[in-house]
Symmetry: C3
Subunit: 159 residues, 3 copies
């Protein structure tokens, strides 16, 4: 019996470029038969948001957070050279030219490769996300579950 | 004999939300009997500052750094949606509503759980911090000490 | 036979202070006989740029990226307290006072210690860098090569 290797990524950032790096590594590791988990916390949860507006019962603060945060990976900004939204447009233009997969495509690919997409329950509650706003087929868990995987893992990254 | 697992976190960031993530993981790992070290370097040192003004002999540049940097975790900004200080207020409001521990509380909890809080000596010197400005019961060490722990560790993160 | 330990750092950030942290860890690990790789991706590639202007045939978008991004580590900003370029000047002043190595010096030291400096081929293409613009004696590789090293490594960090 050969034990499979494992890669555990915490995606904390809500930046398009960092989510792209996270999902390229996740897909690469899955292709090499790693057991892969991407644990989305804080702003990284935005990558899991569905892109349309979803009706959900919320308090006022949660509504404000919901409005101000990007709905899905495609709407996220860049960590660098964002230039009020011009940067993401430029990056997407060169990505298209080079036939590079977009972040929503990389997430879909990860789901097809059985990468475990986890939403951090604590920050889901804190930022007031409702399950119907986030992608289907994801799991909800806490830091204990993350540590359970990562402590025996091979590659652990905080992005 | 079972060897205990270990988690080694470098806290580089001076953002409230990132410090919160770091200390939630640190406390979680300590609860699972990991040997845990949080190695504070650069802006992460601000999490270790005492919150009042502390008199200390300093050069002019060091005084300027000291003035411009937040005094303690409670005064740090957010990595995202900081909105000139409104973001941290909003986050703290929802944290209170959800009974989530604040970062200063998480740090205290970590100290009670014997998490090893380390201040990077090189950046302490560089940014001109004096020992009397930082929390008591922390240790001062360099990259060699960090590597000594992390190279045999289970989870290593740069936050 | 004792197998050597390994440290694998992904340098994603284009910030001076983060590159400094990455290279201090890389040099420390190399001094402790680790096999060390620094894998530069996205904005981290700027650390590998030569500092003069290099003539290279490029499309318009690539030219714009090239112009807007810093030419070499010495021209990078800070992740915190950048203050329109004043922060880097202040940091470099205290670094000089404390005899701390600059980032270009740390990179040179890493090359002398046989740290493997890798440029991520995908983001080199995406951002339109030409080999003649980047440091000599670096290698070009993809996520597969990174994972091949990191999965058996001891310390893996995303900076």
């Amino acid at each position: 019996m050969t034990e499979s290797k494992s890669t555990n990524i915490i995606l904390f950032s809500g930046d398009y470029d960092k989510a792209m790096a996270a999902y390229i590594i996740a897909n690469g590791a899955a292709a090499y038969d790693h057991k892969v988990t991407v644990f989305h916390t804080f702003w990284g949860l935005n990558a899991l948001r569905k892109d349309g507006k979803v009706e959900a019962q919320k308090g006022m603060l949660e509504k404000m957070f919901g409005k101000m945060m990007p709905r899905g990976a495609d709407k996220m900004g860049l960590s660098n050279m964002n230039m009020a939204g011009l940067g993401p447009k430029m990056i997407k233009k060169v990505m298209k030219k080079h036939n590079t997969s977009t972040v929503p495509e990389l997430i879909e690919m990860a789901q097809m490769q059985d990468v475990n997409l986890v939403a951090c329950q604590m920050t889901v509650d804190l930022l007031g996300f409702k399950k119907e706003e986030l992608l289907d087929d994801i799991t909800y868990a806490g830091v204990a579950a993350y540590l359970g995987e990562a402590e025996d893992g091979n590659v652990s990254l905080f992005i």
